[in-house]
């Protein structure tokens, strides 16, 4: 059956075309296993990949602030106007000097998404349009009577965005979504890496990811007389990725056998344990993904062999730096977290994470940082 996979990015800088590296990575990962090992592009030859890109919404929101401030300060300087007047100071002061760097380009994305419904609705609209346009295009172009299987792979902030979008579309919260809703269609597999869909103070969370139709069909119906949207739900959580522990996505036990939590991953191949491909490098993660999305028949024996051969730390000479990094990440993960100040805590702990990553790379220069992957 033709397979259509939507890939959704997380926080950070992600321009259109961001998924090229990801698809290359998946090709390499799948080609580790027979019978795919003789093919050059075993993944992309079997799956049509559509990337979802919503980062420009954040850029368009944030970037004008820095420019605006610069323009105002320039105007004041040119005309001898002082900016220390209380009112002017208040008005200009809210505009940031610079909107680049880890905090502005990465950590603040979820804060803006949760904090301003204008931003989250803009993001949702952009994502829904890309999702529905591509889905419909593929439905129209699927030849003969072949069935189109639709799956989604998302990471980090992408898990918030896709949980929300699938709830809106699947539950047909607006009439135009009925033809794509759970009443009419279903999604083959949703795979979330570093699921942070429950991040944020409760009053700011307008869609609770545990209470929507975004659950597998083996789970109780999300509402009496309604059907769930997903056939399978796979959720991977790295033990040393603190971000997905703060306000953890924990599915109830009665979600059945089509919900699978992969939480036994603790490898460190780069300092940024939150990275997209860092998750997917682990056979415990990519094998269930390939089975569900590609229909790859990778045997149990192949799986066990791959897991056994997968090194827990890379490069081995950085073991000491990695041990320290693990301690620091565990402290961030297990430290106190006030849910009612979820976004402040997110930024504070995110900065601590960033420092820990930098320290680890400074301690062992051959350790890959991996922040750019995010």
């Amino acid at each position: 059956m033709p397979k259509l996979l939507f890939v959704v990015h997380g926080m950070g800088d992600n321009l259109p075309g961001w998924s090229t590296d990801l698809v290359d990575f998946l090709d390499v990962a799948l080609s580790q296993y027979a019978p795919f090992d003789v093919e050059e592009h075993p993944f992309r030859d079997r799956v049509k990949v559509e990337e979802i890109c919503y980062d420009p919404v954040f850029d368009k929101t944030i970037e004008p602030w820095g420019r605006e401030r610069e323009k105002l300060e320039q105007f004041a300087r040119d005309n001898g106007i002082k900016l220390d007047d209380t009112l002017t100071e208040l008005a200009v002061g809210q505009l940031p000097h610079a909107t680049t760097g880890f905090v502005w380009e990465t950590l603040l994305d979820p804060v803006l998404y949760r904090g301003s419904p204008i931003v989250h609705d803009n993001v949702r609209q952009v994502v829904i349009k890309q999702f529905i346009d591509a889905w419909d295009d593929h439905l129209r172009s699927t030849p003969g009577a072949a069935q189109l299987d639709v799956s989604i792979l998302c990471h980090s902030q992408g898990t918030i965005v896709m949980s929300d979008v699938l709830a809106i579309v699947g539950e047909a919260r607006l009439p135009e979504f009925v033809p794509f809703s759970a009443e009419k269609r279903s999604i083959e597999c949703l795979m979330t890496l570093a699921n942070v869909s429950r991040l944020g103070p409760t009053p700011l969370i307008d869609i609770d990811s545990l209470s929507t139709c975004v659950r597998p069909q083996s789970a109780p119906a999300w509402k009496d007389g309604k059907v769930n949207y997903l056939k399978r739900f796979i959720n991977a959580r790295h033990k040393f990725d603190p971000f997905c522990f703060f306000q953890r996505f924990t599915a109830p036990a009665n979600w059945g056998n089509k919900y699978r939590l992969i939480d036994d991953i603790d490898h460190i191949h780069q300092a940024n344990t939150h990275g997209y491909t860092h998750y997917l490098a682990n056979p415990r993660v990519h094998i269930p993904f390939f089975r569900a999305v590609v229909g790859a028949e990778i045997s149990e024996a192949q799986e066990q062999e791959a897991i056994a051969a997968f090194p827990p730390i890379l490069p081995p000479e950085c073991a000491a730096a990695v041990a320290t990094l693990k301690q620091q990440l565990a402290a961030i993960r297990d430290g106190p977290f006030q849910a009612n100040k979820g976004l402040d805590e997110w930024v504070t702990k995110g900065i601590s994470f960033f420092k820990a990553v930098k320290e680890a790379v400074n301690a062992c220069s051959s350790l890959v940082e991996g922040i750019a992957d995010d």
């Binding site: 106007i81 301003s116 204008i118 949702r124 952009v126 759970a182 269609r185």
Partner: protein
Amino acid sequence: MRAARWLKVSLTISAIGATAPLLAQGVTRQQLKQECNGDTLARRTVNELGAALHRRMPDSTWARMVLAQTAFDFTALGDSVRALWDTLSIGIESGASQRMLRLLERQMRELNRLDSDPAFLRNEGPTARWFQISEGQPGEAWVINESESDGSIGLIADATTLATVRAVCWTALLARKVADFGGQDARAQSRRVLAARAQRWDNFQRLGYSLTPLELLLNGWCGFCRSMLEPPRVQIIAVHVLPTLAVRDSIGNRPALTTEIAGVLFYNSARSFHWGFAYAYALPTEERREPGWVLHVSKIGQLGLTFRNNTYKRENASLLLSADLYRFIEMWSGKLRDERDAVAKGIRKLKGAVN
């Protein structure tokens, strides 16, 4: 023996309360894939299947249905699906047969509705998930209509018969294709709605008034300012600073930073035009605040009236021109000047020619 088998089937159904596994001399997993995976099935040849069966494959049947179709007649398409089922389902296991028949009847009701109810055709379309085939991983059943535990049909390697698998899967593939086809109008309508909304967001971002961090927060949580997924129709202005030029009669023009304390803007439905007003303070070079009002007219800019010393008299009034408006006026006055110069030059030339 047959009764015993059915008892076993019934017990299994009640035990798992869901998909009914169909036990019999079963197909292999490979055969399941060959019969139920539309891509694999499409590659099967006449030599493999024989001419009569090959003719009934979902792809071939669909191709004939499309060729025979002279107008949108969804009931006729439903009849063709039913005819395929009737041909293939002779002698198959009755549990699967009954469930499949119920699904086909439900689909036929929807197809009738497509023919008779334009709103259903345009806004909803038929249900595709009833015939969606879920490919089972090794050890799992292949399931049709997995989303309804009491209406799903499970096909199990080494248990379900080839005839049952073929009848169920081929018919499901064709019925799902009909559902996809019948849903085209509704899906196109969804896309039109989304495209129009995308255009409104684009207009709002290109032509609307910028949002500062505070305004982003305020407007986001303003319940009446916009509806779900839409850009604001009403925009609150709060502590928004803009460069302006204060034009005065008495003491000459001055650049001024003007802070709009609070105001409101109203957008048209396309978000391509807005107007509104704000209470503001201008802070000109001489550092004495002047209160007043600022009028917004879309991208043309802002025009304000402020008063020095809090005295609302004509001689204390300043006319505020926003940088945008100032540029707008400059551009037009420049154009007018150019036009005037061109006309004057033309007249001079003309006079020269006459002389």
